[in-house]
Amino acid sequence: MKRYFRELSVAAALVLLLLLLALFAPHFYELQPLLSRLTAQIPTLVLTLGIALVMLTRQIDISVGSQFGLCAVLAGLVSAGGHGLPVSLAAALGAGAFMGALNGCLVAWMRLPSIVVTLATMVTWAEVLRLFQQGKFVNLAPGVQWFGLSQLGGQLTLLGVGGALVALAAYLLKNTSGGRHVYAVGSDAEAARLSGINPSAVTFGVFVLMGTLAGLAAVLNLVQSPQVDPKCGTGLELKAIAAAVVGGVAVNGGRGSLWGALAGLLLLATINPALTFLHVEAYWEKAIQGLVILLAVIADGIRSRRNLN
């Protein structure tokens, strides 16, 4: 209980919001739109998982939005070129892994600060994409949407993939040696080294994984509509980071859980639709979002403050 206070206070805020909606806007719980809203968050969820891992090792990756956009367009072009979904998936994963590996090399082996490295790769990939694609949408091959399934089937598949991924990642992180190494490196890289863990390898691995997840997320986004918008990654890094941070993943590494990140994402992703359903004018959106972020963590702040004295 004490250890998961942050996660719980975020979950409590989420439940409160959901209750409010149940009381004042029961339409919110209509099945089909709810399903759509949830599936729309799956790509962000995948990114959030990656970001949470990166943050646990005491690094940051702000290039994920750009990576996502580039992978999406690449996968789209591959599919438009008449190749099947497996080929576009492979292309996206490969491209993501490559971009992740580049970040990883610079951070882990050259010991550059990750914020700087990923700031640089963020603009690089974004500009490369802009110059290359010039803002044009990519029209996908017909069989891509919903993996070629029916809409419901596709959405359930997506939710399944998302859920399985969270569960798997959370399990591996908690219960495998490698998962614990992530925490160890984020907690104290030098101590990790002295304990026989290779911090550079762990950091590198996490960045590669982040890139691969960005590729996967791009494909999971791609299958939800018949076109790719090259701007689809803009601002995603901030959403994913905000979700992880609100969910209690420490910026300084070593502390936090994927379940917390999930709770953070759900909370943030519920605020925006909630405003529509509660008939709040759109220009209040950002202010309320900011307030909710602050409120969700203030409880935690007051608690740790009390603990200190």
């Binding site: 005491r58 600060p113 700087v116 941070v245 950002k286 202010a287």
Partner: protein, 338 residues
């Protein structure tokens, strides 16, 4: 000049000197190959256009030095611009009192961040992520997103164009701000405390430093400076709108980081930050003037790309040299912040 502070001296030999070299090369290249780059008119444009981001970067530097971050500065600029518009238009205040109230509001907003960060001990990243949304949201709510304030006092608007001794007003303001922040960071005990807190807040507390108030100060200053930047921005653009300063926080952070300040706190110099600001400003202005670039119409993209590359080169350079010279001599990584 009297002796530099020892830590400054050491850094000057590392990162900042490389950056300065890059800046000079950049400058020389642009003077040679970019059309009309070196003209006085254009150089004053370089300063005028980078004044707001430059001010934010100067104020951001001490924040990052304490191991914090302030993502809300751009949004606060929007809020202050709107507030200034409301005061002059809806409340018919004269320019001077309105500006004073705006500055006070900026200080207050900075104080809000500082309160949450120091009194409640919330991580700066989350707090300012929240206020990043909140401040912009308030600005949008006040204007309902659409309202634009125009028609300001001509004397106020002329601030955007004024020159003293042939040098734009912005340059004077930047110089004054840079000098003040230099004194604060490198010459006063405040700066020393920022550094100590950045390295280890616990260590600073056990040394009897007033960690709370010293951590709060840089956030108050970013608030104040964001308000000042909002006023300058309003004067330059001749209007106040909720979207003023969008994305400026990232530009400011980029300049600070490029200038060699460690995002984990403790390490960094103000001259480095200045060089970072200048390198970006010169690049942004100049690269689009190289004929091959403007013919292809890729000025903006190339400027961003080169900024990214510059970041990597400037940081990787000294690091590479160190790695190559002493492969194993590794100072233990900086201790974690709270």
């Amino acid at each position: 000049m009297a002796s530099l502070s020892p830590s400054l001296k050491k850094n000057v030999l590392r990162h900042e000197s490389l950056l300065l070299l890059v800046l000079l090369l950049e400058f020389a290249f642009l003077c040679l190959y970019a059309r009309n780059f070196g003209t006085p008119d254009n150089l004053s444009n370089v300063v005028r256009h980078s004044a707001e981001i430059g001010l934010l970067a100067l104020a951001m530097m001490p924040v990052i030095l304490t191991g914090g971050i302030d993502l809300s500065v751009g949004s606060l600029m929007g809020l202050c611009a709107v507030l200034f518009g409301v005061l002059t238009h809806d409340y018919h205040l004269a320019t001077l009192p309105a500006a004073a109230v705006t500055l006070a509001a900026g200080l207050f907003a900075g104080g809000f961040n500082a309160f949450l960060i120091t009194a409640l001990r919330l991580p700066p990243l989350i707090v300012t992520l929240g206020t990043y949304s909140l401040f912009r949201g308030l600005a949008e709510a006040i204007t309902q997103g659409t309202k634009t304030y125009r028609a300001f006092d001509p004397a106020f608007l002329s601030l955007g164009e004024t020159r003293w001794f042939g040098v734009p007003l912005q340059a004077w303001i930047l110089t004054a701000a840079a000098a003040s922040f230099y004194l604060l960071v490198h010459r006063s005990t405040f700066g020393r405390s920022f550094r100590a807190i950045g390295f280890s807040p616990e260590g600073a507390r056990y040394a009897g430093l007033s960690v709370q108030s010293r951590t709060a100060l840089p956030y108050l200053l970013t608030g104040l400076v964001a308000a000042l930047a909002a006023l300058l921005f309003t004067a330059r653009l001749r209007q106040a709108r909720a979207d003023a300063g969008t994305g400026y926080e990232l530009c400011a952070i980029t300049a600070v980081v490029l200038g060699g300040t460690s995002i984990f706190g403790g390490v960094g110099t103000l001259p480095g930050t200045l060089a970072g600001i200048a390198a970006i400003a010169v690049l942004t202005n100049g690269i689009g003037r190289v004929p091959a670039v403007f013919k292809a119409g890729i000025g903006g993209e190339l400027a961003s790309l080169l900024t990214g590359a510059l970041l990597l080169v400037a940081l990787a350079g000294p690091e590479l040299a160190r790695v190559l010279s002493t492969r194993s001599a590794k100072i233990s990584p900086s201790p974690k912040t709270l």
